[in-house]
């Protein structure tokens, strides 16, 4: 089955992509680029760098701009899926949804309208095992945004490694965050994945942080050999 993977540039969509590659044929990545940083559906930090990830993975990319306004952005997603179906003959869509009924149900509805299959291979996964598998499989992931207590500025650009996971587990116990950031507590960006032919090197970045809210903006990045 030819599948398009809805990609935000973060760990969940690209791990779901790897799972899809192991079972089916991934024909393209699909990215919505919101102009609104408060996008309800689509993660925003560094989503502009998804083209670099697509290039690293040697996968075609279908990219669609969106204003990021609730409900209107669903029409943009629909347009992106129609485009992916036309250009890459996809039969289904893969998302990295883990717990968000809001996100999953909306994508399911659009896929149902278009007659596309919809897969959420990380759905209700064991979050600790998932992060362990993510790191164990060689994904290189950084924190690209923080949006809740108790994340401080030092988290911006920090690698999501086993030390970070220990801290995240402590935050889960003390502050009730979701371990994977599914509740919007933090966002990630993938620099390398097992299926990437090249990895991404950040050459310039800027941290913006105020009151438990911060972005790690990648200004320049390039592909390097693995």
């Amino acid at each position: 089955m030819r599948l398009g993977v809805l990609c935000s540039g973060g760990k969940d969509s690209l791990f779901a992509c790897m799972m899809a590659m192991e079972r089916e044929e991934v024909a393209c990545l699909i990215a919505l680029r919101p102009r609104n940083e408060e996008s309800y559906m689509f993660h925003t930090p560094n989503v502009s760098l998804v083209p670099l990830q697509a290039e690293a993975a040697e996968l075609p990319l279908v990219e669609m701009p969106t204003e990021g306004v609730e409900e209107e952005e669903l029409e943009d997603l629909k347009a992106a899926l129609v485009c992916a179906r036309k250009k890459h003959r996809i039969e289904g869509v893969v998302t990295g949804a883990i717990l968000s009924v809001y996100q999953a149900a909306r994508v399911q509805r659009i896929c149902n309208t278009l007659g596309l299959w919809c897969f959420n291979p990380l759905w209700y996964t064991d979050q600790e095992s998932y992060l362990d598998s993510l790191i164990g499989n060689g994904f290189r992931v950084i924190i690209s945004g923080v949006f809740s207590e108790p994340f401080d500025e030092k988290w911006l650009g920090r690698p999501l490694d086993r030390t970070s996971v220990v801290l995240l587990n402590q935050y889960r116990e003390r502050y009730g965050i979701t371990l994977t950031g599914e509740g919007g507590e933090y966002e990630t960006f993938v620099l390398d994945a097992p299926f990437f032919k090249k990895s991404i090197e950040i050459t310039e970045a800027l941290s913006e942080y105020h009151n438990y809210r911060g972005f790690y903006r990648i200004i320049h990045a390039r592909l390097v050999g693995k």
Binding site: N112, C118, Y124
Partner: protein, 191 residues
């Protein structure tokens, strides 16, 4: 051991991770061993070790299982407790004389319990996650225990411990699976 039957269109599909694995987590968490088996790979040996059976759901577009009713004829003979989830309930309905009709529910839906049953007693109404495009007709040899605005949500066989639920209890309603297992294995219900 609890037998989890994968109803997805093929063994090892991506649907397994979404519809079987979350149920397996809940069952293991309740202290039971789990064996997942694809519906085309069932044999007498798999059933011989099972204490109960759960028929898991499938992706919205996946209705391949409906073309193979022979793979589920064991339901008529079995004395094992069975819980059918979404696609699993559709199988149970068709095997026990019901028919399916188009009916789409995607997202959270209010489920109202209208029948008396040890698993669902005291539940009243609750919010449940749905993803289906088909629903069971009411003309069947099954008791209706709950409904939504759109369709039948829970059925029970009058003589066997066989239940079907249209919603996905593995999302926000783990208690349904927990109580089914308690009822099935220990023959009692937790307060």
């Amino acid at each position: 051991m609890i037998l989890l039957i994968d109803l997805c269109y093929r063994n090892g599909s991506l649907g397994f991770d979404e519809f079987v694995r979350p149920v397996a987590r809940i069952v293991r968490h309740s202290g039971n061993d789990v064996i997942p088996v694809h519906f085309r790979s069932l044999n007498d040996h798999t059933f011989s070790r099972a204490e109960a059976v759960i028929l898991c759901g499938t992706p919205l577009a996946d209705t391949a299982f409906l073309a193979e009713p022979g793979a589920f004829s064991w339901l008529k003979e079995t004395s094992l407790p069975v819980l059918g989830i979404c696609a699993g309930m559709e199988v149970i309905c068709t095997i026990f004389g019901g028919t399916l009709r188009p009916c789409t529910e995607i997202g959270m839906t209010e489920v109202s319990v209208i029948g008396n049953d040890p698993i669902f007693q005291g539940s009243g109404s609750f919010s449940a996650y749905e993803i289906h495009t088909l629903a069971c007709s009411s003309k069947q040899d099954l008791e209706v225990l709950a409904v939504s605005d759109q369709c039948i949500q829970i059925v029970r066989h009058p003589d066997k411990t066989i239940y079907g639920v249209m919603f996905h209890p593995e999302v926000r309603n783990n208690w349904v699976i927990d109580r089914f297992l308690t009822c099935s294995i220990e023959g009692s219900i937790s307060p």
